[in-house]
């Protein structure tokens, strides 16, 4: 049986989650999906913080960081969804390809 360092597992997980987030951010056209993708990306950053804490032996500090970051990202998500409500109201859909009236 191969014994695996839990840190490596966390790092692999983090890369996977970050990949999903980035892919979602680039591939989706729906505003809510984009906000979900942003949240996934932020959560992978939280995983990275936890991994960093366990790597440097300061897991307590990194846990409090992680919780703070989760709270802040929830605020951003709430604002994004509120914007989504307004976008749906004024554009009739959540498709971000409609949002292209402003050109250089």
């Amino acid at each position: 049986m191969i014994s695996m360092d839990p840190l490596i597992l966390v790092l692999i997980g983090m890369c996977g989650v970050a990949g999903v987030g980035l892919y979602g951010l680039l591939a989706s056209r729906n505003l809510i999906k984009i906000i979900v993708a942003l949240q996934i990306l932020a959560k992978s950053a939280v995983l990275a913080l936890v991994a960093a804490g366990s790597a440097s032996g300061k897991i307590n500090l990194s846990q409090s960081l992680a919780i703070t970051v989760i709270v802040v990202d929830t605020v951003v998500a709430a604002v994004g969804l509120a914007l989504g409500v307004q976008v749906r109201k004024h554009f009739g859909s959540l498709d971000v390809s409609n949002l292209s009236s402003l050109r250089r």
Binding site: A52, G53, T68
Partner: protein, 505 residues
Amino acid sequence: MTIPYPLLLLAIPLVGSPAAYLAGRALKSEGLARWLARILLLLDWIPWSILCVEFLRGDSKPILVPLQMLNLQIDGLSLLLSAAVLVLATAVSFYSGPYLAEEEGQVKYYALLLTLTGAIIGLGCATDLLNLWLWFEAMTVSTFFLVTFYHNQPASLEAGVKYLVQSAAGSALVLFGIALVFGSTGTLSLQDLPAAIRSFPNTMPLEAAGVLFIIGFGVKAALVPLHTWLPDAHAQAPSGISAMLSGVVIEAGLVALLRALLPLMNVSDLWGPILLGLGALNMLLGNLLALRQTQVKRLLAFSSLSHMGYMLLGIGAAVTFLQPEAMAGAFFHLLTHMLMKGLAFLSAGALLYALFLSRGKHGSLAITDLNGAASRYPLIAGAFSIALLGLGGLPPLAGFMSKWQIFIGSAQTRSGWIILLVVFAALNSVLSLAYYAPLVNAMYRKEPSDAVRDGNSIALSMSLPLVLMAAAVVLLGVLPTLVSPLTSSAAAALVHLGGTLGMIP
């Protein structure tokens, strides 16, 4: 006194913000929220002045802010940034009274203006990476609401969505950078980082962290490939907020970038050249894109890119060749750009208000609408022209002095390619007159347009801040040494942060 006054600098806007909101909502009085915001912003100058005097008398030693877990300290850079944000926020709080008189949600606007002010002051005082990120996010979140203030306008929603998505992605990247730094060194404190790095042999993760900081904070600082949110957000926000965004928010992004990046200075020799390269891109692209604009506020937004480029030139030269003089020039430019660009956005907004908004039209101000504005609005046109010519770098005005200091400071490095970049920047500065001058020309030498003839008058509380800021632009141009104690100690603060590399303040 039980509350220490360094804390008051932060506490007045941050505690005042919910207070203004609740008072305004409870008593259903927008005027109350407005006046509370104005009074609190004016009050905040008292702790600022005390701290400034104490700081300059105390051999420019950082002043600690006692606040339990949050390690905050006030150094030259924090004082400079808080002065910039307080000047502009005070002006905006008076200016926005008539500008927003007809709009809904003014209570929120003033409360968020206070939050934004407090968050930027806090950002300047942060001493560890997480604090820096938290204040940065607080600033970003409060600007989301302010950019989408006209939430019934599709265009401002569009600007808000672009801004939110780019900012949120940027701050996630910053978090990855923080995790890399924390994982490798085990410390988040910007003070301890340079020492911790020296004992850490593997520089790869730290190099990656630096790149992530440049990209993540660079979104807010509008470094060129990441600038696409900026023209939309600046053009669609209420003019007071355009001024805040362009005058302090992008500069706060730059300050956050420098605070996070400079402790990693020993990790790689490339930071300076990267900043210089981005600066050159910013100057050139900002100018070229501004040249083709037909809307005044978008033009001003793009010109912010090129001014960010001048600052990056000074900072890049300072970082590459350990030349604090160039960095002091960049910080002086930060201050004068705040004044001039703030003034330009506010006067463009005043005209937009008089010609369109006060007549119930939600349009944008085209350059042709400015035609002949000087005959009807001499005060506003005068202030606008001073701002524009200052931005273009004409001699007796502040913009010339700050660019001059950047150029001289950079040229003192005696490196061939930095001098080449300085020449490039000077040429860019001349090029920028190609879009500033036509605006002045339109206001003074063209026949009044229909929009100008039908325009409404402008209230005193709107034009007074403009006149005062125009006077400040001229004053700083004549007496640039007025702020040099602050700018040089701001440069010294960052250099100190960058570790002991033989740079003497």
